[in-house]
């Protein structure tokens, strides 16, 4: 039996770990090491790193501008979905107003550049600070309420920002929007592409590190059982605020790159549509896995691109029954979403993880 000597301080608790337990500990450590591949990457990390490498060299081999624009958009939403996964999938915070940070990031850059004449990078730095503080502020006023109530508060805040951006015409030019093309140092298409790639890669590997760190593990504990986390001595509110700050900074950066890509910043960036997207992406791919968020963002943005392209719409318009549905791709997405929630409640990735053995078994028999 193990001896437990009580001391004044928990970290001074002393133990004699018996040999059998030590052996199990070493075995457990070896297993964890083996699950990591070359350079300490996980398997998903390797796939992402390889994809990033391919995307890095693509423009050097002459990538058409339209494709570059599509990939930039996908990468922006990969980062945006990842930031949402930290909140929703890992910390268990259900936000319904994530567009707030996306839009505020975009507006910070545009306003600083066009109205104050600041260089882009300065506006971006300010945007990061503003988004971080706004995240903490949002948490402070609303995290005292839980679950759906928190979602309602975040929705209200994002909606307020949405109306403000439309009403403060003197500053934001209202619905017309601010044109970043007028800014002298607005990045060009290739720069935007690499900015988006860098953001997505940094977001993925940064968040991977975060969620495996001691702090990240506490966030998961908060998701798993808030009461227990509180009762072992974690200041749950403080940890949630940290998660919100990280998440809102990444979302803000995604908003900025999106603004560069579009060349325009308008109230649409703060709309509920934008708030819904990361939620859809994370649920579709699988919450709390990071690569589920990546998968969800890629699938939804590509579907969006294909299904709303004029060629596709013109083609399917005359089809019977399915034509009108395909014409309104959001309707289709809604349908896919309902099917996923009904049949794959843990998303594509989560379902794969749960039933991997069985699904692979089916494969082998046939």
């Amino acid at each position: 039996m193990t001896n437990l000597n009580v001391t004044e301080n928990a970290s001074e608790q002393t133990f004699d770990l018996n040999p059998a337990a030590r052996q199990r500990l070493e075995a457990a450590r070896q297993t964890t090491l083996r699950q990591r591949g070359p350079f300490g990457f996980s398997r998903a990390g390797l796939v992402i790193a390889f994809a990033a490498l391919v995307l890095f060299v693509l423009p050097l081999m002459g990538l058409p501008q339209t494709n570059a624009r599509l990939i930039s958009q996908v990468l922006v939403f990969v980062a945006f979905a990842l930031s949402y996964d930290l909140l929703f999938g890992f910390t268990g915070i259900f936000s319904f107003g994530h567009a707030l940070f996306f839009g505020v990031g975009a507006y910070s850059v545009a306003l600083c550049s066009l109205n104050l004449g600041w260089p882009m990078w300065a506006g971006a730095v300010l945007g990061v600070v503003v988004c971080g503080l706004l995240g903490i502020f949002t948490g402070f006023v609303s995290l005292r309420v839980q679950g759906v109530f928190f979602a309602m508060v975040t929705l209200a805040m994002a909606t307020t920002a949405f109306s403000l951006s439309g009403r403060l015409v003197d500053i934001t030019k209202g619905d017309e929007g601010l044109s970043l093309i007028q800014a002298p140092d607005a990045p060009d298409g290739t720069t935007v592409y690499y900015l988006a790639l860098a953001l997505a890669v940094v977001a993925y590997f940064g968040l991977s590190r975060l969620i495996n760190s001691p702090l990240g593990r506490v966030l998961v504990a908060v998701r798993e059982n808030e009461r227990r986390a509180e009762m072992v001595g974690y200041n749950v509110l403080r940890y949630k605020l940290v998660a919100l700050a990280f998440s809102s900074v990444i979302a803000g950066l995604a908003g900025m790159v999106f603004a560069f890509r579009n060349g325009i910043v308008n109230p649409g960036l703060l709309s509920t549509d934008i708030s819904l997207l990361p939620l859809l992406m994370v649920i579709l791919g699988g919450a709390g896995t990071l690569y589920g968020a990546v998968l969800g963002a890629v699938v939804i943005e590509c579907l969006n691109f294909i299904l709303s392209s004029s060629e596709f719409v013109n083609n399917v318009k005359n089809w019977a029954v399915v034509g009108p549905i395909l014409e309104h791709w959001l309707l289709l997405l809604g349908l896919i979403y309902v099917l996923i929630v009904l049949f794959l409640p843990f998303g594509v990735v989560g379902t794969w993880q749960q039933h991997r053995q069985r699904l692979l078994g089916l494969f082998k028999k046939s």
């Binding site: 193990t2 301080n9 133990f15 457990a28 986390a229 001595g233 200041n235």
Partner: protein, 257 residues
């Protein structure tokens, strides 16, 4: 009135739910190192009392003093850091994490690196070692890598006690550790509780309905009835107390002969 021989004291502690008095002017003192059980019929206010002491609920009136410090208005996590650990009637663990991670997180809560967001948690191997040792103590050795929710009900209760021990509390509040447990699982949990007692150095407050367990492990027993503290004494005194017998114990002494 604050006396150092008591690790925990309450003064006229009350809690109302609407017009209902759940805990009524309870003044108690628990000596350091003591093993104190609280008994009483369902709805007597035992769990509410634990909720007040652990900070889950604010009291309507009264004071709580832990090791000479007034903690009446302190948040729950702060009380945990001061050294009050609490288990719940409904098992409260991290269900989708491994057994090891459940305990490791509790060990980590007292470490300065709990806020480290850049290095992998596995870098701090000492946390894991401590967790393995604690799991051994609560008889979950060999189950470390299992997902917590796949444990049997009895093992989940042991895990919860392990989580508490990992925070090295000086006062343990155990709320019916044998609740809803199959007959086969009960001896295991009694063994764990007795190990805590034998290891010494900790003060334990136990809410329990299994009288044989209460009578064998307790240094003193408190009886609650309709939110009030109606008796406090050694197990023998309580067993012979007439008020207690009519309120609650009834058959126990007869069965015990």
């Amino acid at each position: 009135m604050v006396s150092s021989q008591y690790i925990l004291q309450t003064e006229n502690l009350s809690r109302l739910f609407g017009g209902q008095v759940a805990v009524n002017a309870v003044s108690l003192g628990v000596r350091a190192g003591e093993f104190k059980s609280i008994i009483g019929p369902n709805g007597a206010g035992k769990t509410t009392l634990f909720n007040l002491i652990s900070g889950m609920l604010p009291p309507s009136s009264g004071r709580i003093i832990f090791e000479g410090q007034d903690i009446t208005r302190r948040p729950a996590y702060y009380r945990s850091r001061l050294g009050i650990g609490r288990s719940f009637q409904m098992t409260t663990i991290f269900p989708n994490l491994t057994v090891l991670e459940n305990v490791r997180l509790a060990v980590q809560s007292r470490e300065p690196h709990a806020f480290n967001f850049w290095q992998p948690a596995s870098r701090f191997g000492g946390d894991e070692e401590t967790a393995f040792a604690i799991l051994d103590m609560v008889m979950l050795g060999g189950r470390e890598l299992q997902t917590a929710q796949t444990l049997s009900h009895g093992d989940k209760r042991k895990l919860e006690i392990g989580i508490l021990l990992a925070t090295n509390p000086r006062l343990l509040l155990l709320d019916e550790p044998t609740a809803g447990m199959s007959r086969d699982d009960v001896p295991g949990i009694i063994e764990v509780v007795q190990r805590i007692k034998r290891a010494g150095g900790r003060t334990v407050m136990l809410v329990e309905h299994k009288m044989d367990m209460v009578m064998s492990v307790s240094d003193s027993v408190m009886v609650m009835h309709y939110g009030e503290l109606i008796a406090d004494g050694s197990p023998q005194e309580i067993a012979q107390n007439e008020t207690v017998q009519s309120a609650y114990l009834g058959g126990y002494t007869e069965r015990a002969g």
